[in-house]
């Protein structure tokens, strides 16, 4: 029996691509080895549906329990399988078919730009010196081409000239009357060009997030934003959340390189795309500021992340880093200096530092807080006197993962829920509903607490449903696996089955939201700041834009502050990167701040468990308390009846 089998992949357009793979390998491994991008958001553990394929021909290993759980009997009978579960035993033909709700989700970009920050003084550190160099002309004078160039530049310019620049000098200073433009960054020469190119001075800022990468091209003279780029982080095919990304690369340098190549290729492509959009040359991009969480930062630099994922979760390097692009390597911007902002801790990274820069929380008189709600969220709290930070990992529930009908915030996702005697759902793009995204999950629970469909402990009402309207009553389904609540009946659904919220879904939400809530509460306790003294809570990052703040407070995802004190500040990580791009003062400030921030490790904090467990509860009362008060009311009414 041959050790190799041939898998033929068919794409949407019907194009086929035969791939050879080892017998016993998974279909997903075969696809990845051949560079076919099948997403496996859960990290190939059979816990999501993103790697769904339809097997058109050929014999396969029998479906696993994971296939049945994720896809259901019917889909498995129709030859749908999870690519990560299928083991190859013979030649076969398969078509990647990610479920519709996983495709094309919203990516946050744009919003407020840094140029609106009137206090930012532009000082990117990149200077173009237009000079006229006289080539050496007297054999008796001990000089050189390089020394003649240096003699035209300000005193203090670094005399170590990069070899690539040295190689260009002889011909340049002997044409065009010796007029050249010498570009320096922080006093070091980075390029020399013929003629006067002083008008062309650009840089880029990037935020490499676990889920998406966004970047902007900026004019370093004016601070003007010239182009904007962004996409899903292409590393996502190796695991959607941070921990599965680390697990993928753990103890395996080759896999780390795989992830790294994805990030570098994406950045190269973005530089090209942005320059094309703006009509500028990538040779004129001189400074690139990259921010990202510790894991993205390390992977970008090719640093092993194995131990970042293990207690005590220490980063490998924390300082400001500046590298010439060839050392990264970033071929797309050959003359750029690539700058990475500092890191605070393993799960409080350069992206958080950028948020701190952008919001200027460090100069506030009163205590403010900065919250990034996400799979690996972070919380920063403080004022000019003291800053503390912690990571608050909510897990992937807000992205719809491990939620029965969960999905990312894409077209057809329920994002708002209203109650008007009955449940009404709003979807993204007003499309027929096919699932529920994080903001819809938060909204539905908030509304259901008010409607007494869910109680403060998170229990779906099982008793005395007669207190509800008939329309609501009819939405409860009791299955052997537990209680469910129908959000959208089958006839209104876009997926030929009802869309439900299960008791287990609510439990997942409780865990996720308590991670954020208890993170904020812990920092409040460390800082000794009651709600009354918390002047502002700033939400940043993609997810903060879409949630209803009122609902988030209702379910105790956020502390109970007056709503006007909770603000959304946009993609602050990207804004902070832009500030560090345009201003060296800001870039250097980030290091001072990173060293000043106190990191609070939640897991080992003696009070954390108490706070985390309490944080799982919603606000409001429990059905048990309701039962007691009803009983009391009944007793009292008897009393008045007999008394009268």
């Amino acid at each position: 029996m041959s050790e190799k089998v041939t898998v033929t992949f068919i794409d949407e357009s019907g194009k086929t691509r035969p791939v050879e793979a080892a017998r016993g390998a998974t279909l997903l491994d075969a696809a990845h080895a051949a560079g076919i991008g099948i997403e496996a958001t859960c990290g190939a553990r059979g816990r999501c549906r993103t790697c769904r394929v339809k097997v058109l021909k050929g014999e396969l290993s029998p479906p696993t329990i994971q296939d049945l759980v994720q896809l259901g009997d019917e889909e498995v009978r129709e030859h749908f399988r999870l690519a990560c579960q299928v083991k190859l035993i013979a030649d076969c033909t398969a078509q990647p078919m990610p479920p519709r709700e996983e495709a094309g989700h919203k990516i946050l970009s744009g919003g407020k730009t840094v140029t609106e920050d009137s206090r930012l003084e532009i000082d990117s550190g990149v200077i173009k010196h237009v000079v006229r160099v006289n080539p050496p002309s007297d054999e008796n004078l001990q000089t050189s081409d390089v020394e003649e160039v240096l003699s035209t530049l300000p005193v203090g310019t670094d005399r170590r000239v990069p070899i690539e620049v040295t190689r260009k000098i002889p011909s340049l200073i002997r044409t065009n009357k010796g007029v050249v433009t010498v570009t320096t960054f922080a006093g070091g020469i980075i390029d020399v060009e013929p003629g006067d190119t002083s008008a062309h001075l650009y840089g880029m800022a990037f935020d490499i997030g676990t889920t998406s990468i966004v970047g902007t091209l900026m004019d370093l003279k004016t601070g003007e934003q010239l182009a904007e780029v962004g996409s899903v982080n292409p590393q996502s095919i190796y695991g959607g959340d941070l921990m599965s990304r680390i697990a993928f690369a753990q103890f395996d340098p080759k896999k780390l390189q795989t992830l790294r190549a994805k990030a570098l290729n994406a950045i190269n492509d973005f530089v090209e795309e942005a320059c094309t959009k703006a009509g500028v040359s990538a040779n004129h991009v001189y400074k690139i500021v990259v921010v990202g969480n510790t894991c993205m930062h390390h992977i970008f630099l090719g640093i092993d992340v194995t131990h970042v994922g293990l207690a005590p979760y220490a980063p490998v390097a924390r300082d400001l880093i500046v590298l010439p692009s060839k050392d990264v390597p970033l071929k797309g911007a050959p003359n750029a200096q690539v700058c990475l902002l500092p890191i605070v801790a393993g799960f409080v990274g350069a992206d958080t530092m950028a948020c701190v820069l952008a919001t200027r929380i460090y100069e506030s008189e009163q205590v403010r807080s900065l919250v990034d709600i996400g799979t690996n969220g972070e919380v920063v709290m403080g004022s000019k006197h003291r800053l503390v930070a912690c990571s608050a990992p909510a897990g992937p529930a807000f992205e719809g993962a491990q939620i029965r009908n969960g999905m990312r915030g894409a077209v057809g996702a329920i994002e708002r829920v209203h109650l008007n005697g009955d449940v009404e759902c709003e979807t993204i793009g007003d499309a027929p509903p096919i699932g529920i995204c994080g903001s819809g999950l938060i909204d539905s629970c908030a509304v259901f607490i008010d409607a007494r469909i869910i109680d403060a402990s998170g229990r779906l009402r099982r008793e005395r449903r007669e207190l509800l309207t008939k329309a609501l009553r009819d939405r409860f389904v009791d299955t052997p696996d537990g209680c469910e609540f129908i959000l959208v009946h089958k006839d209104r659904s876009g997926r030929n089955e009802p869309i439900v919220l299960t008791q287990a879904d609510i439990r997942q939400l409780q865990l996720a939201k308590s991670a954020i809530f208890s993170g904020v509460a812990m920092l409040q306790q460390v800082m000794n700041v009651p709600n009354a003294d918390l002047t502002e809570l700033m939400l940043c990052g993609g997810f903060g834009n879409y949630i209803s703040i009122e609902s988030a407070v209702k379910i105790r995802l956020l502390p109970e502050l007056p709503l006007e004190r909770i603000t959304y500040v946009g993609n602050a990580a990207l804004m902070g990167a832009q500030m560090a791009l345009l201003s060296e003062v800001e870039r250097r400030r980030s290091l001072d701040l990173a060293r000043q921030i106190e990191h609070v490790a939640l897991a080992t904090h003696p009070q954390f468990q108490e706070i985390f467990v309490d944080g799982m509860n919603f606000s409001g009362t429990t059905f048990d308390a309701e039962k007691k008060s009803l009983a009391k009311a009944a007793r009292e009414s008897k009393l008045t009846a007999t008394g009268s």
């Binding site: 059979g46 329990i65 921990m243 697990a247 994922g309 293990l310 402990s457 537990g482 509860n617």
Partner: protein
Amino acid sequence: MSDPTLQIPQGWESRAPQGWEWQTLWEAIETGDHAYTGQKVQAAIDAKIDPRVILDDGLFPGFNLQSDRFSAQIIFIPEMLITARAMKKGLSLIRPLLAAQAEKPVGTFVMGTVLGDMHDIGQSIVTIMLENAGFNVINLGTDVHPDKFITTARANNADLVGFSALLSTTVYYQKVTIEEFAKAGDRKRVHILIGGAPTSPEWAQECGADGWGKDAVEAVRLALKLVKEQRQAWN
């Protein structure tokens, strides 16, 4: 599915003094009132009720009710935890008396969270539930080195070892720890159970564990089953 109901122990009246009642203790455990639990259990001890009877008739009904509800996801971690704590309070009063009667533990269970992982809540619930089921549980806490599991299992002639992992990055150490047991020549002397959010029955099989529980209730059920199965004796 019908909701779990309180299972009132049959014939409890014959095992208690005249006029005694357990209802308030069942409710105290159910609602997690650990102060009342302590008082009532002490009163029962003072009334010379057999500690085994206090356990079976007084403490278990409320606890079992909440366990079943937890398993069915009707209640969640906060409620289960307060019930478990009330239960623990009651047990702390009774355990010395049971030991004095030479009542042997069902088995010895070494428990902890694997190396590199600081998560505590899940395994602490499992620990209380195992104790309630009569196990002698040695809880090593979090971030436990494989050697520590091995030496503790040896020193205590453990029947079972369980370790949880709550991160995709630390499940790896479940496998490593099991391999270390094998290297030490102790793999066949203990049954090994694993659990934690990122784990699955498939992973349990892959990493060579003897069992996997989806929640604390299942873990206890599994432990009770495995402890009866033959293993190699400790030297």
